[in-house]
């Protein structure tokens, strides 16, 4: 029920969906009002049930592919879309990818490198250090690797006046139960930095459960192996593959490594001054962002020189969207091809499949069209019957297909597993129902226009001249 409620709420969030539901209800009312005609259309479809089912399956498969593609591209579009209010900015190393800044930058960045009166301070901030490792270094596989975001637990989730506050996207969308459990886990992580939260999908891959302890042999922080206790999990979905650790634990481990190095006279850990990978800063609007960028980067929009507090390495501040877009730059061609070649090809294929099937049906029933005309059905009636048959197949197949895609991928697989940048999985949005129906309706309409026009133009005298 909770899942269904979530789906309905997600659907109604978008005004387009409300319009869509309205149109759908109107169609249902029309079907009831013209029930006999609707029944006639249904019976026409049932006359060659195998063909109708085959066409329907073809449409459903293509809608699945389109839904999955759009799930990924829509999510990426959304995160790379510039916001004008209450958005996050990313501070990273200016001239190097991956960004590796000294952790000493963290405090000053979180305060916005404030120097002068009138300088902007971020509303909130979150630091990320990436720590990756394996639970079985002898037999390294994809399954036994885990990748941690090292951060302050309270930035993951804290409750203020019963309202979830998080610097991580979509954490506040979790169910009430999941929010409660995660909040408790964050409190525990704060008290004991050894405690971690790992997504259920990753736990399944690791063959571990909440309550177990693991030892991680690091892949990027060589020599920093950590003992961790799993005290909570992220549900399936966006964070199903993610893992979060208290940053204090990594920093303490680095300090301990360096202390030991001092004792033995060996060099410090190579990443000890490079452990801050990202800083997230929340700003109220674009003006504040611009000013904050000047404070951090040291440039001045009015041409006045202002030294940056971050010289070596230099730091840049971007909006989250452009930051993520920069991460996605490597996939740009792939995403372009998917959006502008694959999807239109699928849509065209769908329309052609429908056109072919409906054309065969119309040709077979030419005499019947003529009989209907004799009985008083006008050309537009005939046309609407054919369009109705196509639309019924398209809309029903689209709706069923997108609903199944939503249910199977979100509830069964925990999202579409398509690791790209730092997005491991993508949840099929509630909007998919609208996509499925719209795609089904539009392609079936396009595919059936010519056959419907052919049916409309059947000349009674010609048909019966041949028959009689």
């Amino acid at each position: 029920m909770q899942k269904l409620d979530d789906l309905l709420l997600a659907l109604l969030e978008n005004p387009l969906n409300v319009v869509f539901v309205g149109v759908l209800l109107l169609v249902v009312v029309l079907c009831v009002a013209y029930f006999q005609q609707f029944l006639f259309i249904l019976k026409n479809l049932s006359r060659n049930l195998v063909r109708s089912i085959m066409v329907s399956i073809a449409v459903m498969l293509l809608v699945v592919v389109i839904t999955l593609v759009w799930t990924v591209t829509a999510a990426l579009d959304q995160v790379t879309q510039e916001k004008s209010k209450d958005f996050k900015a990313i501070a990273t190393e200016r001239f190097q990818i991956p960004s590796q800044m000294p952790f000493s930058y963290e405090r000053e960045l979180s305060e916005g490198a404030v120097r002068r009166p009138g300088d902007v301070t971020p509303q909130d901030s979150m630091s990320w250090s990436f720590y990756g490792g394996t639970i079985d270094k002898e037999h390294l596989t994809r399954e036994n690797i885990v990748f941690f975001f090292c951060m302050e637990p309270k930035k993951l989730l804290r409750m203020e006046n019963d309202k979830p506050i998080s610097m991580m996207d979509d954490i506040d969308q979790l169910s009430t139960t999941d929010l409660y459990l995660l909040e408790k886990a964050c409190e525990e992580m704060e008290k004991d930095p050894r405690k971690v939260v790992i997504g259920v999908t990753r736990l399944e891959a690791l063959k571990k459960r909440v309550g177990e302890t693991i030892r991680i042999s690091s892949l990027n922080y060589r020599g920093i192996d950590l003992d961790l206790e799993i005290i909570g999990s992220f549900p399936k979905g966006r964070y199903g593959q993610s893992a979060v650790m208290n940053r204090r634990y990594l920093n303490n481990a680095l300090d301990a490594y360096n202390r030991d190095a001092d004792k033995t006279g060996t060099p410090h850990h190579p990443l000890s001054d490079k452990s801050l990978n990202l800083m997230w800063l929340r700003v109220p609007d674009t003006k504040s962002f611009s000013q904050l960028a000047e404070q951090i980067e040291g440039s001045d929009a009015e041409g006045h020189q202002r030294p940056s507090p971050f010289a070596a390495p230099a730091v840049k501040l971007e909006t989250a969207s452009s930051g993520i877009a920069a991460f996605l730059d490597g996939y740009r061609d792939l995403l372009w091809a998917v959006s502008y070649l694959l999807v239109p090809s699928i849509l065209a294929t769908m329309a052609l499949v429908l056109a072919c099937a409906i054309s065969i049906g119309v040709r077979e029933r030419r005499t019947e069209m003529a009989v209907l005309k004799v009985l008083g059905f006008g050309p537009n009636h005939i046309m609407s019957l054919i369009l109705g048959e196509a639309l019924l197949i398209g809309v029903v197949s689209g709706l069923v297909s997108s609903a199944l895609t939503y249910a199977i991928f979100n509830w069964g697989f925990g999202g579409v597993n398509f690791p790209i940048a730092f997005f491991p999985t993508f949840l099929v949005p509630g909007d998919a129902l609208r996509w499925g129906v719209t795609v089904g309706a539009v392609t079936s309409f396009i595919g059936s226009v010519i056959p419907a026009w052919t049916a409309r133009s059947v000349k009674v005298s010609e048909v019966f001249a041949k028959v009689a």
Binding site: L372, L375, V467
Partner: protein, 269 residues
């Protein structure tokens, strides 16, 4: 007093194009059909009788000339207007029944009523009345494939009369039936004419069907060439030359009358 004409055809021409060739199917044809008449159209293949029937039924438009049915000049109507007009004014009976295979007998008869503003209870009443008239109330839920040829044609007739049309047109309604079923169908048409005062125009090749009509018009090469009336000598004999698809009228043919129908030459038939 003679009944008022319900169908008035004047100077009708119909030409079809086949490739670059123009084929004149009907040539300057005029006729009138009084209300309540049962008229048979006969003639050899290609004589234009089905074309004439289609034109009177509003299924096609003439190349020239006028066709009036009741108060409507249908020769000036557009395709959409004709479709609307047919719903109310014409019931069509086909040689091959042409029932929709996915629909039951009841639904087939109901089909034309879906185009009229009627409640479902009114529709039901009318469908049951029509099926009762053709004695098929026990086959309501049978599909065409489950009915004999004669039964299918009776459903076809019920479908033709369900809207209580001005005119019933039948294109060789007995052409696909055995003699017994054909006799039943012809009896039914006569009953409709006598009991409900329906005007019926029937195309037929069958002299036995033609003798059931009140008047027989013979067409040849697009012109009316002969006319015979019920009650005149020899009319009730199917083998009488009056009912043959002959081209030339035998001299002194009994049962034929000059009714004022004029051929292209202007002389009486």
């Amino acid at each position: 007093m003679a009944a008022e004409s319900i169908v008035r055809v004047a100077n009708l021409h119909k030409t079809f194009r086949r490739g670059s060739e123009l084929i004149q199917v009907l040539i300057d044809l005029s006729l009138e059909v009084p209300e309540g008449e049962f008229l048979a159209l006969m003639g050899p293949s290609g004589s234009g009788k089905t074309t004439l029937l289609n034109l009177i039924a509003g299924l096609d438009s003439p190349t020239d000339g006028t066709i009036e049915v009741g108060a409507d000049i249908i020769s000036r109507m557009s395709e959409a207007q004709l479709a609307k007009w047919r719903t109310r004014h014409v019931g069509f009976v086909f040689q091959f029944y042409h029932l929709l295979p996915v629909l039951t007998a009841y639904e087939n008869v109901e089909l034309p009523l879906l185009l009229l503003p009627m409640s479902s209870s009114e529709r039901r009443k009318q469908v049951l009345t029509a099926l009762d008239l053709v004695s098929l109330t026990d086959r309501l839920s049978h599909r065409p494939g489950q009915l004999s040829g004669g039964q299918q044609q009776r459903v076809g007739i019920a479908r033709a009369i369900v809207t209580d049309p001005t005119l019933i047109v039948a294109d060789e309604p007995t052409g696909d039936l055995d003699s017994r079923s054909a006799e039943e169908i012809l009896n039914l048409l006569v009953e409709l004419k006598n009991g409900l005062q329906k005007t019926i125009i029937m195309v037929t090749h069958d002299p036995r069907a033609a003798v059931r009509a009140e008047r027989v018009l013979h067409l040849d090469k697009g012109r009316l060439v002969r006319e015979a009336f019920h009650g005149t000598a020899g009319f009730n004999d199917p083998n009488h030359p009056a009912h043959r698809d002959g081209i030339a009228q035998p001299a002194g043919l009994q049962g034929t009358q000059d009714t004022g129908i004029r051929t292209e030459g202007g002389g009486p038939v």
